[in-house]
Each structure stands twice: as C-alpha cells, then as structure tokens.
C-alpha cells in the first residue's frame, strides 16, 4: 500500500536555528498538508498546498514557516527560526481529495 514518508523521524535543534522537515507524498496525490500535534494533544492544521501554491494556512503558519515542493516529489516544511513552542510532532499528509494518508511524523524538539 502506498505510504507517505517523512524524514527525519526525530530532530533536535537549538532555539533560533532553521529546520527543514521533509515529506514524500504519494505520487499521484494532488493535495498536500502539514499538521502538528503538541505532545499528545490536539492535531492542528498548519497549511495545505495544491497546484504548486499554498491554498490555505492557519494562524499558526506565520512568517517563520514556509513550504515548498522543490522537485515534484518532495514536500518540505521549513521553520526559519525555531522557538521552544515549536516543539511538536509534525505530520505530513497527502490526498487525492478528502481521504488523507498521513506520514508517521517528525518529532521536533527545540532546546
């Protein structure tokens, strides 16, 4: 069964550093998403991406965040200058329409 692959599985970074979280969506999917979950809490929408541009973003997704699909297969989330409160599990998802496949997540720890 096709999978969404996320790397790395765990990243530790110092406050103020830039991080890039990587995702390989399912190849024939058209819609791409990033969500985050702060330690066992609610899963929060960050951003959706369609047709090579952001289609919707939440208030969490401020100027420190950006997404890119640089080569037609990868889908990345960049956090420019990490803060302690960015520590969370970040999930990538892709879909043809409304049925997502989620990746297994990247646990980001900001110290």
């Amino acid at each position: 069964e096709p999978e969404v692959t996320q790397t790395p599985s765990h990243q530790v970074t110092q406050m103020g550093q830039e991080v890039i979280l990587r995702c390989v969506p399912i190849s024939n999917h058209l819609y791409f998403y990033w969500y985050r979950q702060i330690l066992g809490q609610k899963v929060e929408f960050l951003v959706s991406f369609y047709n090579n541009e952001i289609s919707e973003k939440s208030e969490i997704f401020d100027d420190q965040f950006s997404v890119e699909r640089p080569d037609g297969s990868n889908f990345t989330l960049k956090i420019r200058s990490t803060k302690l409160e960015d520590s969370a599990m970040y999930f990538c998802a892709s879909s043809e329409e409304y049925g997502y496949t989620f990746g297994s997540g990247t646990r980001l720890t900001v110290v």
Partner: protein, 117 residues
C-alpha cells in the same frame, strides 16, 4: 466557528464489552467525517470515513461509526473491545468539497481508549 468535540478525554471499557467513543461536530454544509487512531509514538492511522450514503459506516479492525445528521454526531463503536484497541482516537471533519484547493481537516481533541483485561 467550525469545530469538532470529543467530550470524553478517556473511555475505559472491559475487554469483550462494546465500546463507544463520542464525536459531535459543528460544520456548515455537508461535512465529510473521519476517525483516526494513534498508537504511542506513531502516526495517525485511518479507521473509517463517512462521505455520503448509508449512515452506518464500517471500517478497519471491526470498528464502525454512525452518522446522525440531526444530532450532528459521528460516534465510533465496536461490538467487542480488545486490549489491543487501547490507543488515542481522533474524530476529524472536513467541511466538504474544496473551496480553494484544500480538504482541510478539523480534528477533535482526542479520546484515550483504555481496554481493561
């Protein structure tokens, strides 16, 4: 505002007994409804979805859910719980169709299911 409520933080049930995990929503239009399960340190695994049609939806691992439009609910059920069903369960709603290239999900806060042997 659109929202999803899972009123119980935790549900405890004895193995072999039926289980129900509750979900209600407040979304305009005809929403699409989903249940996901999360095991410790793992991602979100799809259980089932309601898009249209029969109100009773059957999904993975013997789970089912009933869509009730008048009560705006989508409760998850299983006739006989297993210890291995112990996990965190999330209800999610997509407002239905794309407005600008998105099928965004709104998640509930999650319900921890504990099945006791």
């Amino acid at each position: 505002a659109q929202s999803v409520a899972q009123p119980e933080d935790q549900v405890n049930v004895a193995e072999g007994n039926p289980l129900t995990v509750k979900c209600t929503y407040s979304v305009s239009g005809n929403p699409y409804l989903f249940w996901y399960v999360q095991y410790p340190n793992r991602g979100l695994q799809f259980l089932l979805k309601y898009i249209t049609g029969d109100n009773l939806v059957k999904g993975s691992y013997g789970f089912e859910a009933e869509f009730n439009k008048s009560q705006t609910s989508f409760h998850l059920k299983k006739p006989s719980a297993l210890v291995s069903d112990s996990a965190l369960y999330f209800c999610a709603v997509s407002p239905g169709g794309t407005t600008s290239g998105t099928y965004k999900y709104i998640f509930g806060t999650g319900t921890r299911l504990k099945v006791l042997a």
